[in-house]
């Protein structure tokens, strides 16, 4: 977390009519930081962005930029600029007029506006398109115009509302890096709403995962990815396979009893990424989350039996194999459940196999779902 909060969201609650959307949400954003608000639809991420922009007002809580309280300030007095998902370009204006609108508002003279617009057009790779009507542009070009219009006013905070979701996959890859590079170079504080996990990972300094109007976890991308704070975050960040285990816990290790579909294991706590969400002592039912790509396949007869100390072995049978490229993708039946596991070697359907899950890629949580929230 940044030492000095530039944008401070302090216990903000927002409701639509009688439906609460954000519950006393607090978040501090540092100057020059790019924070991604990540979550599935309906989690409140766009509501939070619109509240920051001033299009919605919180029922309680405060918003501050530096020392300035902006909770009740009109949207046009907040010194922010937003890039809308729909781009919201004005169809009755040319590209240059769209970008220059905010400059004209600031009473710059015509020559200064033209110079600044030309600079932005060149920077965004739109040189020569200034007189074009915005309706005559491609999706990627419109997106750049929307970005240019926002950057033209030198906002203190740039708000990005899923700005890439209307672009096709190939352009999206490049625009991600362009926006990130621009934001770094100009040193703008940015808040980026997205439901695309990879987009958030690639672009953000810090990811904030929202779940039903609350922050599920906030932290740098690699921490969110490797140390999810809750089953929700683990599942959301792609560790969407899970098995239930019975385990004895002590101070140093998690002792997993052998079950119908898994071998016994004794895993050291310091290998487990989510060890601090586990209770200290006793016998518990745990739920283990893992990513398909973190698992490896071992032929059943090669698998070491007995106390594994670095990995958990799930036993099952290959149902089907396909080759998506690079690795073989196996559909493996383990107990009642089917998992997709990639492996460099091909195992034939019907083979008995063991799925090896290294402890460092195994996210263990108490099975009842209660976890201590952990901040970033």
């Amino acid at each position: 977390m940044p030492s000095e909060a530039f944008l401070d969201i302090d216990r903000v609650a927002v409701r639509y009519g009688s439906t609460p959307v954000l519950h006393d949400l607090s978040l501090a954003v540092g100057r020059g930081e790019l924070v991604a608000l990540l979550g599935s639809s309906g989690c409140g991420k766009t509501t939070l962005l619109r509240t920051i922009a001033g299009f919605l007002s919180p029922t309680s809580g405060r918003l501050r930029i530096g020392e300035r309280d902006i909770t009740r300030l009109a949207p046009d007095r907040r010194d922010m600029a937003m890039v809308f998902q729909s781009y919201a370009l004005w169809p009755h204006m040319s590209v240059a007029q769209n970008i220059g609108y905010g400059l004209k508002l600031r009473r710059l003279d015509r020559a200064a506006i033209r110079a600044k617009v030309e600079d932005l057009l060149a920077m965004l790779g739109l040189a020569g398109l200034g007189e074009r009507n915005v309706t005559a542009l491609s999706g990627g070009q419109r997106q750049r115009v929307a970005l240019g219009r926002a950057l033209a006013v030198d906002p203190e905070i740039l708000l990005l509302d899923e700005p890439l979701s209307n672009l096709d996959a190939r352009i999206r890859q490049t625009v991600r890096h362009e926006i990130r590079a621009l934001q770094r170079r100009l040193g703008i504080t940015a808040i980026h709403v997205t439901h695309d996990r990879e987009e958030a990972m690639v672009m953000a300094d810090r990811i904030v995962i929202l779940d039903a109007g609350r922050i599920a976890q906030a932290g740098p991308p690699e921490r969110i990815y490797n140390q999810p704070a809750s089953p929700f975050v683990a599942d959301f960040m792609g560790a969407d396979n899970s098995v239930t285990l019975e385990a004895d816990l002590d101070g140093a290790s998690v002792v997993i009893a052998a079950g119908a579909d898994h071998a016994a294991a004794r895993l050291a706590r310091d290998l487990l990424p989510t060890a601090n969400t586990l209770p200290g002592q006793g016998t518990f039912s745990l739920r283990a989350f893992f990513r398909g790509e973190a698992a490896a396949l071992v032929a059943a007869d090669e698998a070491v039996t007995g106390d594994e100390t670095e990995a958990l072995l799930l036993t099952g049978r290959v149902l089907a194999v396909s080759y998506p490229g690079g690795v073989w993708r196996h559909e493996v039946a383990i107990g009642e459940r089917h998992f997709l596991v990639d492996d460099a070697t091909c195992h034939a359907p019907g083979d008995a196999v063991a799925v090896r899950l290294p402890a460092r890629h195994l996210f263990l949580f108490p099975a009842d779902g209660t976890t201590k929230p952990r901040g970033g």
Binding site: F55, D76, Y101, R149, A150, P155
Partner: protein
């Protein structure tokens, strides 16, 4: 073969119903002499055009009156419809649909009793026989189109387009003038044209409130045809037809389908 014959007959009948009266009117406008049992005029000419446009014919005066009143009606309707339409489209008003329906009221009742009563009331204010009186009557009649279409025009302007302006520093008023109004302009233009034509065409209200001091084209048309002078009536009707056709061409350009789809919502 039989099917084609039926289709051809139906189309021909339809064409006759639509264009028959128009053709008859055009013929009468250029007729010097035409009486039974002749199927077509006996003699063609322009002498009645001269009579209509002669100073004594009153056509020029009526035309000017009609135009002045129509322009005044458009101005007054828009002055009311722009704020009303914006409010109805953007603000969360209670009884919104009731308000929209209220503008329909002058049309919902038979015209004659309504206008007789208006004339009675206007008499008290000394508005009878004045331009203002006629403009007011026309506005009450045209306001339903103006407000309904203006509401649809404002509703079809994406809210995000306004937010995008607010967001980079434009105040509410500036946003309205630079974003909302220009984007709603085609719809407002269409409503203005509707109101203009309604006013140009209006007879009953003008008759009760304006006549005999304020003479408009429809009143001239009425007295000409009531007097059995079909030539003058046809020529006047032709003059009235010109703006209608121009309107069709213009409205097709200005009124987009997405605006029309929102009328009355």
């Amino acid at each position: 073969m039989g099917r084609w014959l039926v289709r051809g007959l139906c189309l021909g009948l339809l064409a006759f119903v639509v264009f028959g009266p128009l053709a008859n009117m055009v013929l009468w406008a250029f007729t010097e002499r035409w009486y039974f049992p002749h199927a077509l005029p006996i003699e063609y000419g322009f002498s009645f055009w001269g009579r209509v446009f002669a100073p004594r014919g009153g056509a020029i005066e009526s035309l000017v009156n009609s135009a002045v009143i129509a322009v005044g009606t458009v101005a007054m309707s828009l002055a009311l419809a722009v704020p009303a339409g914006y409010a109805l489209a953007r603000l969360r008003l209670p009884f919104r649909s009731l308000i929209l329906l209220a503008f329909l009221l002058p049309q919902a009742f038979p015209n004659l009793p309504v206008y007789i009563n208006i004339a009675r009331i206007f008499y008290g204010f000394g508005l009878n026989g004045t331009y203002l009186g006629v403009v007011l009557v026309h506005t009450s009649h045209g306001l339903v189109y103006a407000v309904w279409i203006a509401t649809a025009a404002f509703a079809s302007v994406e809210h995000e387009l306004e937010e995008a302006a607010r967001n980079i520093g434009a105040g509410a008023m500036h946003t309205f003038w630079t974003i909302t109004l220009p984007l709603a302009a085609p719809g407002l233009m269409a409503s203005a044209i509707f109101v203009f034509l309604e006013s140009l065409d209006e007879f009953t209200g003008t008759y009760f409130v304006g006549a005999p001091d304020v003479q408009t084209l429809p009143l001239l048309l009425y007295s000409a045809s009531a007097g059995g002078n079909y030539q003058i009536a046809s020529i006047t009707a032709l003059i009235l037809l010109v703006p209608s056709i121009a309107f069709m061409l213009v409205v097709e350009r200005f009124l987009r389908a997405d605006v029309l789809a929102k009328v009355g919502r």
